[in-house]
């Protein structure tokens, strides 16, 4: 059972690392150690009624790393929070990636779906990591992945950085060398990855997004359609996900 006001995190870094993308480190040693790759943090932005879900990009014994893009009012306010201030964050929430010690993985991130792949990729020795961005201004976390000693691929839609390709182009080339895929990014990308994996009988876990209320499974707003035992049902991104078996997801 969590305790009253346990969810206070101290901001120790909040910097812009690419156009409109911020790298935030928040401290709370009790909760940070619990974080698993693919889980998320539900952040109370001062003045807002709804919390904002942000994937855990990395975690150590005392801190969570959250990399977020300024989209609307909430993330705008978040980007102005100063080092030293406290944030009210529910974390870690959800079910993360299920990473099998025996298997060879390919981690794929697209755009702002790249951050959670960092913590995930750290679970393996020299995994294949494919990162895709719209253009060079949005490229993030390359040196972090490199530090982590993985086989890193960088693609951009316009070729302004790395290879001019889609992440799926790279994935196709690497299929022989991997046993499973973990992916996060825009729905069309996830759908394409999922199709390739299905065709090649490679298991694939995808991390999904949906607008949330409670963030813990009580309000049922973050519904995601899945097909289980032949019938369609709604499960919930916050509690049943955000990571799902791509075969179940109704894209």
């Amino acid at each position: 059972m969590m305790s009253y006001d346990a969810q206070k995190f101290k901001v120790i870094k909040n910097e812009e690392i690419a156009t409109g993308i911020f790298d935030m480190w928040v401290e709370n040693s009790e909760l940070s150690v619990l974080a698993k790759p693919g889980q998320f943090a539900h952040i109370l932005v001062p003045g807002k009624v709804l919390r904002r879900p942000i994937s855990i990009c990395d975690a150590d014994k005392s801190c969570l790393r959250l990399v977020y893009q300024v989209k609307g009012e909430g993330t705008e306010i978040l980007s102005k929070v100063k080092v030293g201030e406290e944030l009210d964050i529910l974390a870690p929430l959800g079910n993360g990636f299920d990473i099998n010690p025996e298997k060879r993985y390919c981690f794929i991130g697209g755009g702002i779906g790249v951050p959670p792949m960092l913590y995930a990729s750290k679970q393996k020795e020299k995994p294949v990591v494919i990162t895709g961005f719209r253009n060079k201004d949005l490229v993030i976390l390359q040196s972090d992945f490199r530090k982590d000693n993985c086989e890193l691929y960088l693609t951009t839609d316009d070729g302004s950085a790395g290879e001019k390709a889609f992440v799926t182009d790279v994935l196709k080339r690497k299929l022989d060398e991997i046993d499973e895929v973990c992916a996060c990014g825009p729905m069309p990308m996830l759908r394409a990855i999922s199709e390739i994996c299905n065709e090649n009988n490679v298991p694939c876990q995808v991390s999904l997004e949906e607008r949330m209320g409670c963030g813990i499974g009580a309000c049922l707003v973050c519904a995601c359609e899945v097909k289980r035992n032949g019938t369609n049902d709604y499960v919930h991104v916050c509690k049943d996900g955000p990571v799902f078996d791509s075969k179940e997801v109704v894209f």
Binding site: M2, L50, R51, G213, C214, I216, L220, A223
Partner: protein, 303 residues
């Protein structure tokens, strides 16, 4: 500490704060945060006769100081509730209220009958859900239909019966009177105000259902007004809700005429809200020498 207990329709609550239907599921999730006996009661997620999938997502949008939702009564159906959820809930040391919604009068009646044979504490008639195609709010927007449905369910219900009212009406006090005259033991109010948000970049409503129900602090003044008007019109107790997010709001809603309270959206902002609100109420009572919450209920002195 001050005595926070209240009594509604013969049922004892050890705190005036009840989790509002639909915001608290069947309690499991929040029990990871605190003992559910911190709450006076739990109004469970609205249940229907058969399992419902609910509306397609997105089901939620943010608004200034509020939210819109259109979950569309996703639930496992009344039988599943009775079998799987109720037994666990009844062990949590808090009053358990079944919130029921039907497509037809008969469905409401069937559910009331099934629930009457369980150890559920109270039944809350949801005739105000704006997010479903048939039934839902249609039952709750005219005095005549409220009279009919209340009477019908009353005849099929052995439990204390709460009728939950929609704020999307011209004269809510008249509607409350219809419910009272036809056997309601208590009124709960308000359900959500229907609203809409559009994403100007796509030209699409943010919520897939196009419109949704507005809740949260934004609607609080409307809820206070409606509770006050209704308290002046009926004798049965009122469970007040709509936008309560801090202890001051709780006191204000009690002053307007509520005997107990429900809170929903504020728990999305802060899961510990009920604990904090109860603490604030207790402090207010101590500071002002108030022995029982009944001294506060309806104590507003209009000009």
């Amino acid at each position: 500490m001050a005595d926070l207990s209240v009594k509604v329709a013969g049922v004892d609550f050890n705190s005036p704060l009840i989790a509002a239907s639909g915001t608290f599921g069947f309690g499991h999730e929040y029990s990871n945060f605190y003992d559910l006996s911190n709450l006076g009661g739990i109004s469970c997620k609205g249940i229907t006769l058969k399992k419902r999938l609910g509306n397609p997502p997105p089901r939620i949008a943010e608004t200034p100081s509020g939210i819109l939702n259109a979950v569309g009564l996703q639930n496992p159906g009344v039988d599943h509730f009775i079998e799987k959820d109720l037994p666990w809930l009844k062990k949590q040391g808090t009053v358990i209220i079944a919130n029921i919604a039907g497509n037809t009068q008969e469905e409401y009646g069937q559910m009331a009958e099934k629930l009457s044979d369980t150890d559920i504490d109270m039944i809350e008639l949801n005739i105000s859900c704006p997010n479903v195609k048939s039934g839902g709010v249609a039952f709750g927007t005219s005095c005549e239909s409220v009279a009919n449905i209340t009477k019908y369910v009353r005849d099929h219900c052995k439990k204390p019966l709460i009728v939950k009212l929609s704020p999307n009406v011209t004269d809510i006090a008249e509607i409350a009177k219809s419910a009272e005259a036809n056997g309601a033991d208590a009124i709960s109010m308000i359900n959500t105000l229907t609203g809409m948000r559009i994403d100007i970049n796509t030209g699409r409503p943010i919520i897939k259902n196009n419109t949704g129900g507005m809740s949260g602090p934004a609607i609080f003044p409307v809820a206070v007004r409606m509770v006050w008007q209704t308290a002046n019109a009926v004798k049965i107790p009122i469970i007040g809700m709509g936008g309560i997010s801090k202890w001051q709001d709780a006191i204000e809603m009690l002053m307007a005429g509520a005997t107990a309270l429900q809170i929903g959206t504020c728990m999305f902002t802060d899961p510990y809200a009920p604990i904090k609100i109860n603490e604030g109420i207790a402090e207010f009572m101590d500071k002002n020498g108030i022995k029982s919450l009944s001294e506060i209920t309806g104590s507003v002195k209009p000009w």
